[in-house]
């Protein structure tokens, strides 16, 4: 447009205008940087992990990886061909091929077989610790926000709980080792792991539960009490159900954390390797709680830092990481579906 048609709303360069676009670009760049980082991490794991997890032939999924225990991989040359075999397969091969009895094979620990015991262990650890954390956490939150007299003491307790959230997970691991494993003599066991992990996520669960309880309008409580309900009747029928979606949202974060932490379980619940599955060889019900398990994050840690690296370990590492991500996503999806169902039922 020609200068002659200048009008009063025409844009003029100004400091505010320049800041506007600068700030917009800063925010936009920050978001894209995060997106790219996330895409690189997930892409790397999915790309390399899917080579292990999927297969090119039917059923297109590496079933053995999901259903078998880890075992050593043997690599050897037989009749001019390079062969890779898991431990059991290799032994069977030697009995059927007597001439191969003295064959020289290189062995690589944990590079064959699957990760079934780790999947089972992680699922057990997550379920047990979330049950403990939700029971303790929701109870404490109900007490703090509904029953306790608000004052300095409660404020201090809240502050202490918040600080607990900042404690490094290795400290929880050592605490669990000291209290549950050694002092209470539970040994390295599911139970010790459950409580250690539960303690670790308790601050998140308590804080979020309190927030969701506070978000329930006061009118619902008053209306219920005015009808002659006791405090507990009011909370059970007319407060907790409405707070549940929020509590579940927070526990989704808790699940991801519980499933992924290595430090708290490495001293309290996790075994490097265990032949038996958790339900095998139990002589009594209590044995179930006092056994250690294998776990996905600990398996990743062991495979990637405790054993000599070679060309064959990588696929186990990435495969395990990929499966781990999928499991966390699955559990989280279940919680989100449940939460949305509850949310739709109680809307206000």
């Amino acid at each position: 447009m020609s200068p002659s048609t200048r009008h009063e709303f025409q844009s003029r360069p100004s400091a505010a205008r320049r800041w506007e676009s600068a700030v917009l670009w800063l925010f936009r760049t920050a978001t894209y940087v995060i997106l790219i980082c996330g895409a690189l991490v997930f892409g790397n794991i999915v790309f390399k992990g899917s080579k292990t997890v999927f297969s090119t032939t039917a059923p297109f999924i590496n079933v053995a990886f999901f259903t078998e225990a880890p075992e050593s991989l043997y690599v050897f040359e037989y009749q001019g061909q390079k062969k890779e075999m898991g431990d059991r397969e290799f032994r069977a091969f030697k009995t059927t091929h007597p001439e191969a009895k003295d064959i020289k094979a290189e062995s690589y620990v944990y590079s064959a077989g699957g990760i079934f015991p780790c999947i089972v262990g992680t699922v057990l650890l997550v379920m047990g610790s979330m049950m403990i954390a939700l029971t303790l956490g929701v109870s404490a939150a109900v007490y703090l926000s509904e029953y306790a007299k608000q004052g300095r003491a409660v404020t201090l307790i809240r502050l202490a709980i918040l600080n607990l959230a900042g404690v490094p997970s290795i400290v929880f691991g050592l605490f669990g080792l000291g209290l549950f494993v050694i002092y209470l003599d539970w040994n390295v066991s599911l139970l010790a792991g459950w409580f250690t992990l539960a303690l670790m996520v308790l601050p998140v669960v308590i804080t979020a539960s309190e927030e969701s309880l506070k978000a329930v309008p006061k009118g619902f409580r008053e209306g219920s009490l005015a009808l002659g309900a006791t405090k507990w009747q009011t909370i059970r029928k007319n407060v907790l159900p409405y707070a549940l979606p929020g509590i579940l949202t927070s526990s989704i974060l808790g699940i991801a954390r519980v499933a992924g932490e290595t430090a708290p379980i490495m001293f309290t619940a996790a075994y490097v390797v265990r032949d038996k599955l958790p339900w095998e060889g139990l002589s009594s019900v209590s044995d179930f709680f006092f056994q250690g398990v294998m776990a996905l994050p600990y398996h990743i840690y062991v495979v990637s830092s405790k054993i000599p690296q070679n060309e064959y370990t990588e696929r186990v590492q990435y495969g395990t990481a990929f499966v781990f991500l999928v499991i966390v996503a699955l559990i989280a999806t279940c919680s989100i579906v449940l939460r949305n169902k509850l949310r739709n039922r109680y809307k206000w």
Binding site: G223, L225, A226, G228, A229, K237
Partner: protein
């Protein structure tokens, strides 16, 4: 005959006969009550007698203590930390409701309440009405159905909602929600219904409906209503108490308060010169 006090908890055994007195007899006797929120005194030496099966209105400017007094009558103030009745007694049928032997749960079953902001629970209309009954352990379906219909008819809401009893109470309009809350309160058959500015959030048409409802309810219940709206007090109450700065300035027949107030402050307030 030995009949249990209506408010004593089942475990404690103070026995005072329940008498049904004719309309006009004193039901609630507020006797020289001082009330504190922490260190600040909200009520100063309040004495008044609320009569049975009459509508008593509390009027006065904001912060004058009328809602506080109302919430003393079913001990809703207990929910606020640091509140206390420092002096005096509130008696219902001669029983001091702040006595340690009184079970506040029993008291609230007998003294129902409707709040300023309508607060239907985020449940179905049916569940809203039966909430109080289920608390008492009543679960017989036909019994509950009958109460739901009776209460909704009593709250003049039946015809509007009878086809959607199982939809959410929050789907109703503001006025319907408030009448639902009234229906919920009368479902447990209290003796007294406390109404804390029940129409302050309603439009004029919904207000008229609630006021008409109050006229119907007065035959069965003793009603105490707090209101900002002086015309409302004039229209629907038998007795009116005027409060100012935590003190009871004047308490008399509604007609007298509005036509011929004894106190200069009352006259200034009802004629709109302040407040």
């Amino acid at each position: 005959m030995d009949i249990k006090s209506p408010f004593s908890s089942p475990a404690s055994g103070r026995s005072i006969p329940v008498t049904t007195s004719p309309a006009g007899a004193t039901l609630i006797d507020i006797d020289h009550v001082d009330f504190y929120y922490g260190a600040s005194q909200a009520l100063h030496d309040i004495s008044l007698k609320i009569e049975e099966k009459k509508v008593t209105a509390f009027i006065g400017p904001s912060g004058c203590g009328k809602s506080t007094l109302l919430r003393c009558l079913n001990r809703m103030n207990d929910l606020i930390d640091g509140t206390r009745v420092a002096k005096g007694q509130i008696k219902i049928r001669g029983i001091d409701i702040y006595d340690p032997s009184v079970d506040v749960i029993e008291l609230r079953k007998r003294v129902g309440m409707v709040f300023q902001k309508s607060n239907p629970f985020p449940k179905s209309i049916y569940e809203n009405i039966t909430y109080g009954l289920r608390l008492q352990g009543r679960s017989n379906k036909s019994d509950l159905d009958a109460v739901v219909e009776k209460s909704l008819r009593g709250a003049a809401l039946w015809d509007e909602v009878k086809d959607r009893l199982h939809t959410s109470g929050l789907g109703l309009s503001g006025g319907q929600q408030q009448r639902l809350c009234i229906a919920r309160a009368i479902a447990v058959e209290p003796e007294v219904i406390l109404m804390d500015e029940p129409c302050s959030a309603l439009d004029p048409i919904a207000t008229v409906k609630v006021e008409e409802l109050i006229q119907e309810l007065r035959t069965k219940f003793t009603i105490v209503i707090v209101t900002h709206n002086m015309q409302q007090a004039a229209r629907c109450s038998d007795k009116t108490a005027f409060f100012y700065m935590g003190k009871l300035i004047e308490f008399a027949d509604t007609r007298a308060i509005f036509m011929n107030p004894a106190n200069a402050q009352t006259e200034a307030y009802v004629s709109g010169r302040f407040g």
